[in-house]
Every structure is written in C-alpha cells, then in structure tokens.
C-alpha cells in the first residue's frame, strides 16, 4: 500500500515502527475448506449434477452411468493422493461447454449445495466474523460451484480451482495453482503475507487429512467433521474437533 502522506523513506520506516509498536495486533483470518467442512456435498456431487443435466436424455444417461462407474476409481485415487484424484476427476469435464456450466452453476447451488450446508456452518462463520476475522474459503471445488456459495455465506475472499477453457470448451485441465493439499497451505501463507495477517492468530477448518498442511500453518487449527485419519491426527496434536452436522 502506498502511503497517502509523502515522507522520506527513512522517516516513514520510523513512523511504521511506531505505528506497529502501538498496534502490535495484526489482522487475522479464518480459512475454510468447503466440501465436507461447511457442506455435505463434494466435487462428485457437482459433477454428477452437471452430468445429469446434459443436453439430451441419452447424453445424460451415459454421462451419469460413466460417473457412477468411476466412483471406485475416484475413491481409490483420493485415498492415494489428492493431486492424482484431481487429475483423473477434472479430466471428466473435457468437452463441457463453459456457457452451460455457468448456466447450471446457480441452479446447482440452489438445488444441491445450499440444502447441504451444515446448520452449524452459518453459526461458526457468524461467530468468527464477530471476532473480526476475515472469512476466506480455500477449496479444491471449482469457481463455478463455489462462487454462489461464497456470496451466500458472505465470505470476504476465496480461492478455488478453475477449469481451463479453450474456445469455450473445457480441456479437462485445471489452471494453476491447483488447490489441493500443500498448495492450499502455500496459498494461505502467501495470502497472509500479502494481506498482513498474523498466522498465529488465524483459524483454519477442514474435514480431510489432505488439508493437514493448511491446518498446520495457522495458530488455531480445527478438525471439522473429520475423517478417521484426521480425527486421530487432531487427537495427537490436541486440536479441537468440531461437529457441525
């Protein structure tokens, strides 16, 4: 940020030190994972909704059947590595029209995502906001899916995955940075640096072991509706375990 008052560099440094000395508390934020943390849905729900709503009955049926048949593969890939899962999963979007995905996004939110938001999520965000924390969504979901939810929950900021489109058609690849596992933590660190946040005072919430790095970089990590592995890890690290369901 450029200071409004023009001061010589050295003097400005002194003023900054005085200001920071007088107000040592830096801002902080709460970082939320989305799927399984704030709502019950996941990436596959969103994809299945799009598959079911293809143009033409035959296309819908084949895409749905293909999606259902792939579920064991998705589960296996996710349990092995979130990046591998992303590679396999988002390839399914290849050939999808950008217009159609955007058209379906609000409908997907209204019919699938909104009803699946955990009741406790609203309250958690409200309490957190009252503490003066910036509300940030850090999710591997697509921007198309997450956008309406960010607006609905009144979050201040978000980072999502974005599909690559060429000539209005999805290529099945994600634009970098791909939000998953350690990338989330890296993004949180960079974001905190850029926004002047004190990570020790920040909170992060996730349901999945794959978000362990994101949980580990803040001072107040919380496991929310955790899977078995994250629950055990949270117990070992003495992190709070929260059930928003």
């Amino acid at each position: 940020m450029t200071p409004c008052i023009s001061l010589p560099g050295g003097l400005w440094s002194i003023v900054s030190v005085v200001i920071y000395g007088a107000f040592p508390d830096m801002a902080a934020a709460a970082f939320y994972d989305l799927d399984g943390t704030l709502c019950r849905t996941n990436l596959v729900h969103a994809f299945a909704y799009n598959a079911r709503n293809q143009q033409g009955l035959w296309r819908s049926v084949t895409r749905m059947a293909s999606t259902l048949a792939s579920i064991p593969l998705f589960l296996a890939a996710d349990s092995f590595n979130r990046r591998l899962f992303n590679d396999i999963f988002f390839r399914r979007y290849r050939g999808e029209s950008e217009d159609r995905l955007r058209y379906l996004a609000q409908e997907l939110f209204d019919t699938v995502v909104r009803p699946s938001i955990f009741p406790g999520a609203y309250e958690l965000i409200d309490k957190s906001r009252r503490l003066g924390l910036r509300q940030v969504l850090v999710t591997g979901a697509l921007d198309l899916t997450a956008g309406p939810l960010v607006r609905h929950l009144g979050l201040d900021d978000s980072v999502t995955n974005r599909l690559e489109f060429v000539d209005g058609k999805a290529t099945g690849r994600l634009l970098p940075p791909v939000m998953a596992a350690a990338t989330k933590a890296s993004w949180v660190r960079t974001y905190a640096e850029k926004e002047g946040l004190n990570l020790t005072e920040c909170y992060s919430y996730s349901d999945s072991m794959s978000d362990l790095p994101m949980l580990s970089v803040v001072g107040h990590p919380t496991a929310v509706n955790p899977d078995f592995r994250l629950r055990n890890t949270a117990l070992q690290h003495d992190w709070p375990i929260l059930d928003l369901r």
Binding site: G120, L124, L235, D238, P240
Partner: protein
C-alpha cells in the same frame, strides 16, 4: 508432701482420639488407605500424624417424597407453591446439572423425585406451559440425553425431552435478559425463558455449603458477562472460605446479584441436603478408620488395591464412574433463597464439620478420581489443581487446616491426560498458556476473552459436550486462595515430571519421599494432618 503428678512419657504420642473423627497415628496404628486418583495407596504414616475422618452418614429421611411435599407446602418466607399457581401461567423448573452430587447418586435421583412431585402439582393446578432447564451456568457442558434421562427418570424425560427439557445455552445470542446491575456494577443477565416466566422453581442438590442459595439462579442461569464478575482471582482469594458463606466474597457478591434477581423474578427455591453416604456397603470401609477394620474389611481393601494396581487406567475410570453413590435425603426446605439456604447449610455443617484443634505444618490431600467437572470423563491436571487448591483447600471453617506457608502433599498420579470431547480448551490452556504464566491476573487479562470467543470452542460447547472455552480459566482462579496460602505443593506418586512442573509443584516418587521433602521445607518436627477424603469432611479449625 504432695504426690508429684506423673509427667507424660516422651517419645511417640500415645494412641488417642480427640473424637471418632480425629485420630492420631501411633506405634500400633494400621496403615491408612488413601485415594490417589483411581488407585488406592496403603501407607504407614509417621507417628503423631493426625488423621481426620468424615462423620458417619446421618440417617436418611424415611420418606423423601413426604419431606419434599411438606417443604413445598410449608415454605419459608413464601406462599405455598399451590397458592402461587393458576391455570395458564408460565412456569420454568431449573435443576442442577450433573456436577451434583458426586458421584452421581443411585436412581431415583433426588431431582427425579422432586420433578415428579412438582409436575403432578402443576398438572393438578392446570399449569401446562412448563419447561425444565438444566442450569449449566455459563460454562458447564451440556448433559447428554442418556444423562438427562437418568437424572429426571423415564416418565419426565419421555414427556418433556427435547422441547421442554433441555440444557441452558449460554451462547444463545437472544437467550438472556439483562435485569440490571448491582450498586457495585455487577451485571445480572438471566435466561430469557426464566425471566419471562411467571414462576421459576429452582431444584437444588446442595452438596456443599458453597452450592445453592443465590448461586442457583445468579450463576446457574446466567451468561458469561455475569459470571466473570465473580469467577475471577480476587473474589476467590477473598474467600475464607468458599464453604463458609458469611466469610465468602463469592457468596457476598452473589447475594447482591440475587437481590436483583428477586426484584425481577418470582423464584421458589427447593433445596435438598444429602448425607455423605458416598460408598455402597461393599465399599463402605473406605470411609472408616482403618484401626477399626474387620478382617474382612482388610481383605476387601487389599483385594481392591491389588486389582486397581493391575487394571488399565481406562478400565478403572469406567469402573468408578459406573458405581453410583447411595446418598440419602436428610433435609429439604422450600421458599425464599436466604432462609432456605441457611437451614440447608446448617444441616450440611452437621454432616460435614469436624472440630479440629489447630493447624498443621504439613497436610496430605488424597485426590480421588472425580471432580464436579469430570463425571464420565478424565480428571485432567487443571481439574486436579482445582480439586486440591480450590475445593479441598476450602473445606474448612475458621482457618485452613494447613498453616500459611506450609507444605501441601497431594496424592495423585498427575497423568497428562485430557478428554478432547469434554475439555478441549483445557488442553490449550495447559499446554500453551501455563508454560507462559501461572499468574491468574495475567491469564485473565491476556487470554480469557480469546478463549471465550474462540469460534471452535463456542461451537464445541453448543453442538457437542465441551465445557465452555473459559472454564479452565475459572478452574485456575478457583485455586487462587489455595495458591496464595500454601508454601509448597508436592505431588506424591506423580507418574511424570512435567505435569507437576507446569502446575508449579514439586514431584515425589512416593508419599514417604513427599513427607521427607515437606519436612525439609517446613522443619523436621513439623506437625502433619491427613484429610481422609472421600467421603467429604470439612474441618472446623479452632
């Protein structure tokens, strides 16, 4: 020439008893059975050690139901309950939570007996708008449905749960009404449902004199803003003791706040006192003088001690939590808070107070497996601290059993073990805050607000069964008077070094070593007293 009086013999103090509750150890004394968490120790104490035992249980009232009905129909400074009822009125019944009595009593719980009688009376008078609220105060954990059912009985539970029988939610943003402030500026915010009721009936299980009275409504039904004005270090430090209401700053503040409550609400108090029959007959020997044990008692004691020493900690905890106490009702009064509480305290004093001559340089506190805040859970290090320096230190009238600056020996393994579901904020308090400071004022100023507002802790309190984020702070403040009074605390039998160190205590491998350490601190000729808890005994120290 007159005959010279014989001088007392030098050497060991001859075996004598001041009365049945105050016994001195001599050459022929049996070893003492001492609780150390979920274990039992069998210890030969030094000759001359004074051992203070609980009084035998006062015989329970033959017909508790009749006693409760009589109290309701003959209240103190108040109209009888039936005269205050009219069809269509709104009534809220507030009941104490699972922290009382300890351990939970055999069924039917006295609250079930009271509730069944009350609901019958309310029904007969056409009062339908009845809610039952568990008075958790601002920080106690919610009771589980199973615990609620056990406490109120199936009939009440089936009829009222969950819409009309529920836990107080101190974090409900619209759940409290400010009634005003005392002249000293203490805010009194009380549960909206209670304030908006035509009549509030508070059912107390007054286990110790600190409970009951104005504390019931002013603490049990208040929010964080109200509770923090007295759950703070200076108030606790000014209590001499918490168990002696006329000399308790906490009771003074609560009386002021209770006056505000009485200006705005119609509260009908029903207080009960139970005897100290903490152990059912197979374990009743645990409360008796070991010198008077029968052979069978000795066999039972040794068998139990050996069995406990072989069992895993989790199993021992489960076992002790599964044994309810066969408490019996010894008194019930109803009406206005002050006269009711005065009579109940008199009855409790009759049960608990034991006359004791003089203080000691060294005092031994056996710390058992349970505290008000770990029913069905773990006695973690902070709760261990509050049991020793909070509750047990305050179990006196007149002056503490331990002289100022003396050595306090605690018998407990001091496990570094926390329940992540019930006590999540305790974990952070112990591991993050205590290594930085043990100063109550600093902790309050710097961290209490942060823990109070921590969204994770708030949600765990509201949606799970966690104690409120502030509870470990209150527990730490509760030990303030004890911390200021004792010169040294030694944890005898602690299984690790870091828990006592974090709490600011010394560690000893065994009770014998702890006594040697205490003597090196206060002097070799130090006097010594063992408070033989449980059951509850309070010292009336001259």
């Amino acid at each position: 020439m007159t005959k010279r009086e014989a001088k007392p013999l030098r050497g060991p103090v001859p075996r004598h008893k001041e009365d049945d509750q105050v016994v001195y150890i001599d050459n022929n004394s049996a070893p003492r059975i001492i609780f150390s968490g979920t274990d039992l120790l069998c210890e030969d104490l030094p000759i001359g050690t004074r051992v203070i035992y609980a009084k035998p249980p006062i015989e329970g009232l033959a017909n508790p139901g009749a006693a409760i009905r009589y109290a309701i129909n003959h209240p103190l400074d108040s109209e009888p309950l039936y005269a205050q009822l009219s069809p269509g009125m709104r009534v809220t019944i507030a009941v104490d939570d699972i922290s009382l009595p300890l351990p939970p009593m055999t069924t039917p719980d006295i609250r079930q007996t009271m509730l069944e009688i009350l609901i019958e009376i309310l029904d007969a008078n056409g009062v339908d708008d009845v809610h039952i609220i568990i008075a958790l105060g601002s920080a106690h954990r919610r009771m589980t449905p199973a615990e609620m059912k056990r406490m109120a009985g199936k009939k009440i539970y089936d009829a009222f749960y969950p819409d009309r029988y529920y836990n107080l939610d101190a974090e409900d943003p619209d759940g409290f009404v400010p009634l005003g402030k005392t002249a000293q500026g203490e805010p009194v915010n009380i549960s909206r449902r209670c304030v908006e009721s035509d009549l509030v009936i508070y059912l107390n299980v007054t286990l110790v004199p600190m409970d009951g009275g104005h504390k019931s409504v002013a603490v049990g039904l208040c929010d964080y803003e109200s509770v923090r004005v007295h759950h703070e270090p200076d108030t606790i430090a000014a209590c001499d003791s918490l168990m002696d209401p006329p000399r308790s700053m906490l009771a003074t503040k609560l009386a002021r706040m209770g006056a505000i409550v009485d200006q705005h609400m119609n509260v009908f108090h029903i207080e009960t006192a139970l005897n100290n029959r903490m152990f059912s007959s197979p374990l009743a020997f645990l409360g008796r003088n070991e010198d008077e044990f029968s052979e069978f008692d000795r066999l039972k004691a040794e068998t139990l001690r050996l069995a406990l020493s072989k069992m895993p900690e989790v199993a021992k905890r489960k076992m002790f939590n599964a044994i309810p106490a066969p408490y019996q009702l010894i008194a019930c009064f109803a009406g206005k808070a002050d006269p009711v509480h005065e009579r109940i305290v008199a009855k409790l004093n009759e049960q608990y107070l034991v006359k004791v001559k003089g203080q000691s340089d060294i005092v031994i506190f056996p710390i058992p497996f349970i505290s008000p805040y770990n029913v069905n859970s773990i006695l973690n290090p902070i709760l261990l601290q509050v049991m020793a320096l909070g509750y047990f230190h305050h179990f006196y009238r007149g002056q503490p059993v331990l002289r100022k600056g003396g050595a306090l020996i605690l018998c407990h393994p001091c496990y570094d073990d926390f329940d992540p579901e019930y006590h999540p904020s305790y974990i952070e308090f112990f591991n993050r805050l205590l290594p930085e400071t043990r100063d109550s004022h600093q902790l309050r100023a710097k961290y209490e607000e942060e823990f109070a507002r921590n969204p994770s802790y708030v949600e765990m309190y509201r949606r799970g069964y966690a104690y409120h984020g502030t509870h470990p702070f209150f527990m730490w403040y509760w030990g303030e008077a004890g911390r200021q009074h004792v010169g040294k605390v030694i944890a005898a039998g602690a299984k690790n070094a870091h828990v006592p160190a974090t709490l600011g205590w010394d560690r000893a491998e065994s009770l014998t070593e702890a006594i040697a350490m205490a003597r090196s601190f206060v002097g070799p000729s130090a006097s010594m007293t063992l408070m033989k808890w449980p059951p509850i005994v309070m010292a009336d120290v001259e």
